[in-house]
Amino acid sequence: MFQFKNIIKGNYLQYVRSYSFLITVALSVYIAFSFVPSPEANYTTIRLGSFTGDYNTAWIGFVTAIMSSTILSLVGFFLINGSIRRDIETRIGHIIGTTRISNTAYIITKLLSNFLILFSILVIVGIVSVILSFLYGNGQRFQLSDFVLPYTIITIPTLFVVASFSLLLEILLPKKTILQYGIFLVGFFMILFASSPEKQGLFDVFGMQYPTAVVSNQIQAMHVGENTELAIGFISGGRNIDKVVTVESISFTTAYMLNRLFWVGFAFLLAIASSLFFHRFNIKERLTTQLKPKQKTNGKSADFQLGNITETPEFSSQLSPLIGAEILMLVRKSPKWLWGISFGLMVAMIFVPITFAHHYMLPLLWFLQVGVWSDLVTKDIAFRTHYFTASSYQPVQRLFISRIIAGVFIALFIAAPLLVRYIVELDFHTLLNIVLGALFIILLSVFFGTLTKSKKLFEIVFFFLIYSNINLVSVTDYFGAVHTSFSYTGIMAVLTIGLFTGSYFLKKLSYDY
């Protein structure tokens, strides 16, 4: 038990002491704020029909618990995914593989460490929500149990399931990060569908059905016959003051609590089952069919006779070879099947209605590149090539800029069918918005990568963005899908220039010169 505690503590501290955790904390505060929009905001997060709740602790506790159970699962997955991969990359895994710790014990410690990280964020969300309840509540009665009970009963079991599911994907698909992300996304939306209040049943992983039904019944009692269908997410349109209702604290039934307990147990069982397939860091042997075999030398030793080399190198400061190599690396990083899907979607963008292609297909296509773009400027740390890049000729002016150009090239190439359609329609304003969107998303990756020296933050934010983009949340529209005004284009241009300037100077600082 003592051994377990120390491993979990080690895993947790390793993460908490990293720079990206500070960023995560900041992001969590932002997320918590976004969960409880101000009374004047032009969006809501939970609506039942056209009803929203008065800002008492019962409503804020209910909203933030449900939102944490869904949105935090989505964002949190990216945060915790990679805990086993980190042990592989740091080669700690080779040491762990030789210790007495069993596969099951190792996976359970990982499950608990991942859960602790998500729980820490939940605590931050909780604290911010309490503060907001004082801020927006107009002196209404404060009841701590309105936060503690929904978080414990609704949200915590979900976090266990996400932590366990992340481990399962890491174990079954090591080295296939993009596929892990894809499967999680599909799984997430399937679970969200199965958890909707209309589908009463056991597969309510997010725990939404019962509490929503309780709140819905409360509203029905006040407004008989009104539509109280649940809408969750970032829904455009502010609160209708005539449709604000006072919600009472939710009392949870034993059956519901047993159902939530079932999901905690399921998470542990899933982790134990996953451990049966755990490679114990013997990846080369386990995945011989997936990995390319190591080259065999031809038995001859190297001659090292440089006298034979008469060609003298010429100085050249051209960027094109650098950009070419960067594009090649970006293209090769994505597996062929992913490019197959991307090409299929790109062709489809020619034929579907242009608004559908712009609103839904373009952000999705760009999102498929998340694993590639996220390490645009952090790959040198992962591949240990940073000494080469730092001692190269004009690293910031040449190499750094080449990487940005290569990333933007890929983004525009993917958007090409849509861009051509806008050219044909002579809609150059929308075309400019898409070009700015490509620049923005690449520079966002570059900025976050340079700032945190990690790809996690960009992945989390991009995931959050795609979710919001598909829900047409206007504030997160960075590629002109919802906005059509010139002032929006101006704002995007300023943001893009700001990101570029920030990234450039951060990079200069990071190179010490």
């Binding site: 001659d303 090769r332 080469f388």
Partner: protein
């Protein structure tokens, strides 16, 4: 060629000192850099290769201040780091072309130069395979090839023989000797024998300071008359080691034959000719 390093100091935070008031003048030829872990070798190498900046002091190459103009040395630098990786999705040829572009090297002859370099490091047959499939020794050879791509005038090799087979190590030493004519070569290694055979001068570092920089003969002279060999019984070996600076010990049938450094040798100990390794141990352990 002259690399002048004056009063170089590197502080990490407020307390940790990586390098302290370090001054050295390096001219064309091979300089062997020796020192135990934490001596500051890597810190010094990173500052010469313009990866990090000193807290205080100056570095100039042929009179050019490379702290102000790092690109001056970058154009003529060949650097093989101790712990480096490669981009696994590129093949050897693509990787070297990319490295050449990074170094600001191009032109018509580049393709042929890369081909010949790959031939000399015995990777031409695998040149079209992605580097992710290379073994450790092959990666080390690709690292050596990239360091020589731009016909560098300042070459820094940090533990270059790791991963090379014994025959390659010998040939690599010859390569370094051939390169040294009009170039500065800094060779950092834990393996004293790698440096012993080829270095024109040796610099020994300890705790961020330069202890000595001189020709091998002059450095060895410092330990001359202080190196002894004696036979110690198995039961006494641990006790003996706690009182003397032991360079090496070889197990015989019932005893140990011990080579050690001492100002006051034991009775019966045999005075032997000092080597660079003896001098290194003498200077860093005492």
């Amino acid at each position: 060629m002259e690399l002048a390093i004056n009063n170089l100091t590197k502080k990490y935070g407020s307390k940790k000192l990586g390098l302290s008031d370090y001054s050295i003048n390096i001219t064309s030829g091979i300089l062997g850099l020796l020192g135990p872990n934490g001596a500051g070798k890597s810190t010094l190498i990173k500052m010469i290769s313009s990866i990090s900046k000193p807290t205080k002091g100056s570095i100039s190459l042929n009179g050019n201040d490379i702290l102000k103009s790092p690109n001056y040395i970058r154009k003529m630098l060949g650097y093989l780091p101790q712990d480096f990786g490669v981009y696994p999705n590129l093949n050897a040829f693509e990787f070297l072309s990319y490295m050449a572009a990074m170094k600001g090297v191009g032109g018509k002859g580049l393709h042929r130069r890369i081909e010949k370099l790959l031939m000399e490091v015995n990777l031409i047959e695998s040149a079209n395979n992605q580097l992710g499939t290379y073994s450790g020794g092959m990666i080390q050879r690709i690292g050596i090839a990239q360091a020589l791509l731009n016909d560098p005038k300042v070459i820094i090799f940090d533990e270059p023989t790791v991963g090379l087979d014994p025959e390659e190590r010998l040939r690599f030493r010859d390569l370094i000797s051939d390169l040294a004519n009009d170039r500065i070569i800094i060779l950092s290694s834990h393996i004293v024998s790698d440096i012993e055979t080829i270095a024109d001068e040796v610099a020994i570092m300890k705790q961020g300071e330069l202890i000595v920089k001189n020709s091998q003969e002059d450095i060895i002279q410092l330990a001359e008359g202080k190196v002894y060999e004696t036979t110690v019984s198995k039961s006494n070996i641990n006790n003996f080691k706690s009182y003397h600076t032991v360079v090496s010990s070889h197990r015989t049938q019932d005893n140990f034959r011990v080579r050690y450094i001492s100002e006051n040798p034991n009775v019966g100990a045999e005075n032997v000719t000092a080597t660079l390794e003896d001098a290194y141990i003498y200077l860093t352990k005492n």
